[in-house]
Structures are given as C-alpha cells and as structure tokens.
C-alpha cells in the first residue's frame, strides 16, 4: 500500500488507518462526528496527498486541455483553479478534476481511484500534439485546511492568503518550503488546499500546524486533524459528488447536475476544438437527462446506503448513491438518481432499506450551506 509523507503523523495521533484506493490513510482519529463538527465550527487539517497530481506542459497544452476537459479553461488567468470533468466519447465521466493554471504549466488534481485510468485516457488523447504529462503524485504532497476559522488562523502565516478569491491560488516560499495555496476545498466550508514537495512535508507541517494549545489565539484547533470519514460526511452535506458514487463512466455530468462545468460552446472560441464526449452531451442537453441527481431527507434515524432502491408507490424509480446521518442537520440525508419526471423537489418517495422501507422527501442540494 502507498503511504503519504504524513503517515507517521497520522499514526502518532491515533489515526485508524484504512486502505483507500491503494493508499494507507486515516478514516478517523477519535470520532467521525467529532471531526466533522470540528470542521464546521472551527477547522481541521486533512491529508489529501492521495489525490493524483498531474503536471501538464508543452507547446499544445491549451489545445489538449480543451480537447479532454468539458469546461473551457483557455480563459483561465494565471494562479487560478477551475472544477471540470473529463468525459469519455459516450459522455460518461472518466473523472472530475481541479485544473490549476500555474505561470508556465498546468496541473490536474484527479481522484486517487482514477489516477491510472486518467493517465491512460490522457495519453490516448494526445494524437499529434506536443506535450508532456508528468505524474507528480508521489513527489508532492497535499493537505486541506477547512473550516470557518482557517482564514483567521492562516493570516498568522500569510497576509495574502485570506485575500485570495475563491478558486484562486498563490505561491509562497518559506525557506526551502514552497507551497501552492488555493482557496478551494471539498467540505462546504471556507478553507485552503496546499500542494508542496513531499521532501518538505514534515517541515511544512511545522509551519502549518500548531500542536500546543497555548500557541496563540485560534492556534489550538488546527492541531486536531480530521480523517476520510469526516471528509465524506462533510462533502455529502455540501451536496458534492464523489466519484464511484454520484459519478462513474456511465453517468453524464448533465444528469449529475454539473451543467456549470460543461461548456458546449467552447469550440466556437478561437484555437479551440470540440471536446471528447461533446456529441453525446449535446444530445443529452437537447433531449434532457433521463435521470437526475436529487437530495433526499429521510424520516427516522436510519442511514440509506449506495444501491438501495428509491420507490414511488412501490415502483422503483431510482437508487441511492450516498447517504449518512447528517452530523450537522441531525437527520438522515442521501443523494440518489431518480427518473427525471419523478425528481421534482418536494416529491414524496420511500427508500428500501432492505427489509424495511422509510419515507423520504426530495429536497434541494446542497443540504448544507455555510453562512457567508
């Protein structure tokens, strides 16, 4: 199993280590719910080094990215990021990614479970273009600091970071530690994600994490890391898709409610071409998706799990993709794909928990929005 540069840090803090897409990572340290609340009320650090980081450079990089990404990226300013999808020719999602535009190269942050598949897909899409794809997943590391107090906390390290717009990033040099700090995240909270060289990971940790409660105003909370369990319940509350649940090779982004990340007009811009999957997505856009991703609020206290049927009058109209007892809302929530004409917000459905059924209501996504 692969280990991140923070492996010892996790073990020292009692992290319960599990296999996640071939990486040994903490599912939790103390309690998933406690770590969840820590992020919603103050902040916590996540090791997200398992996410794949692919550096792409060379003469045809822009043309290439417009070919493989569903969302236009040529207009991105330096030091900004953008959420996009990579689709196959059928319009199914190969992966959902964050695109970073550095001054002289680009980077795709991809799902750990899809890294090899994405690299194959990218290599197969190069054609006669001149470019270089470098997998920097193991030569770099990545952490996320997420929570309403992160900006206040990080202002002790940098005055610039709290001024970053959402999806902007900056490069900071501290002695030999070089950090790319972006105002991004996967929790529904304000916060940052940091990419750094693996070799400087332990030094960076000393810069970023205060271990002692007397480390100053707002300095004590971040000594508590959070694990993958909390990361999952946080992203569910924020209505964010997870590959393998809400997205896969057979699900298109329009059904998933990700229209904002699909630029069907990108070929009309100069030096751009049609993207892989565009034909299929144009057809789906014209006819309307046959199924739609919805949010469900369940009665009772039980958790709906991936694959459980969703019923209207005892007829199966869809299936659950993710579910949990929402730690913030204190009721069970789930995401599910339903037949498009049964997916209206406010609709009454039932979830088949296997042996018993529970009533549920279709509610808007996200379930949780942070206070601005």
């Amino acid at each position: 199993m692969l280990r991140t540069p923070f492996h010892q840090y996790h073990v020292d803090r009692g992290g319960k280590m599990v296999d996640f897409a071939g990486w040994e990572l903490p599912i939790m340290y103390r309690s998933i719910h406690e770590e969840h609340h820590q992020v919603r009320t103050a902040g916590a650090m996540f090791d997200v080094s398992h996410m794949g980081r692919l550096k792409i450079s060379g003469r045809h990089v822009r043309r290439f990215l417009e070919r493989v990404l569903t969302r236009r990226v040529s207009d991105m300013k330096e030091l900004t990021c953008r959420y996009s999808l990579i689709c196959n020719a059928k319009g199914g999602v190969v992966d959902d990614v964050i695109v970073y535009r550095f001054a002289d190269y680009w980077m795709l942050v991809v799902n750990a479970s899809n890294r090899a598949k994405v690299i194959d897909h990218l290599n197969a899409s190069i054609g006669d273009m001149v470019l270089k794809i470098e997998d920097q997943t193991q030569s770099t590391a990545m952490v996320a600091l997420q929570g309403p107090k992160v900006m206040e906390y990080i202002s002790g390290l940098s005055k610039e970071v709290p001024t970053l717009a959402r999806y902007a990033f900056c490069i900071k040099n501290y002695l030999i530690v070089k950090l790319a700090i972006s105002r991004t995240g996967y929790t529904g909270e304000d916060g940052i994600e940091i990419i750094l060289p693996s070799a400087t990971a332990s030094m960076a940790l000393k810069l970023l994490v205060r271990e002692k409660p007397d480390a100053g105003e707002g300095g004590s909370w971040v000594s508590k890391p959070a694990g993958l369990g909390a990361r999952d319940t946080l992203r569910m509350e924020a209505g964010m898709p997870l590959y393998g649940h809400e997205l896969n090779d057979d699900i298109d982004p329009l059904s998933a409610g990700l229209k904002f990340a699909v630029s069907l007009d990108k070929h009309t811009f100069e030096n751009s071409e049609r993207f892989i999957g565009q034909d299929a997505l144009e057809l789906i856009a014209k006819e309307g998706p046959k199924r739609k991703l919805v949010g469900l609020k369940l009665d009772g206290r039980r958790t709906a799990r991936q694959g459980m049927g969703v019923l209207v009058k005892d007829q199966t109209v869809g299936a659950v993709t993710s579910g949990c007892l929402s730690p913030t809302l204190d009721y069970p929530i789930a995401m599910a794909y339903l037949e498009a004409d049964k997916s209206e917000v406010g609709g009454a459905v039932a979830v088949d928990l296997g042996g018993s059924k529970v009533d549920a209501q279709i509610v808007p996504l996200p379930f949780y929005k942070r206070a601005k």
Binding site: M28, R305, L325
Partner: protein
Amino acid sequence: MGAASPTDRRYLASHEWHKPEGGLVTVGVSQFAVDELTDITFLDIKKKVGSTVKAGESFGEIESVKATSELYSGVAGEVAAVNEAAIKNPAVINQDPYGQGWLIKLKPADASQIEKLLSGADYDKGHS
C-alpha cells in the same frame, strides 16, 4: 492491534460479548467491533422485554457511519431488559462498549450455555 478483550465474559465471532451477572446475561458489542464500525448512529432492538431469543438469533441491528450490521445472541433466553439509553444515544456504545453501552440483558434458558462461547483470548485470535 488493540488491548486484549476482557476475560470476565464470553464472545461470538460476530463480535458480541456475553457477561453473566447475577442470574442474567448482559449482551453487548466488543471494542474491536466498535472500532471497525466507527461512529454508531442507530440502534434497533427488535426483541421486546419478555420475548424469547434463540441462540444464534438476531435480536436487532446496529448502524454506523460505515455499515449496518445484525446483532446476534450467543445464548437462548428471555429478554429481561433493553438499554433504552443506548437506543436514545447510540454514541454511548462507542464511548463505553463494555459498560454503559450494553444492549440487552437475558434470563438464560440454560445457564451453562455461555461456557460454549469463545473466551476473550480465543475471540482475539479470530481477528488479530
């Protein structure tokens, strides 16, 4: 990994413990099970007080952030008590699985049946 399971009780390989206490047998889930389940979110005891449970029969279900599992009794008997506090607040099972996080108390049909279950040491061998 983890500390040895308490030796004052007997276990099923499916991670339930059974502790004889003054003519009754208290049933709960082990620390190992709790660690594997992560945060427990829901406890359902299907068997009511006064009903009977067979050895190897399911008496309820437990749900966590990670999974849903059936709960089994290793001994036959009549349900004498159900831990209503744990139903109301399942987190108590995470906090104190061998104490306040107990699940049910049984009046055993055969007091010697518990001896056939796994000892703490044998139970630990099964998942080390």
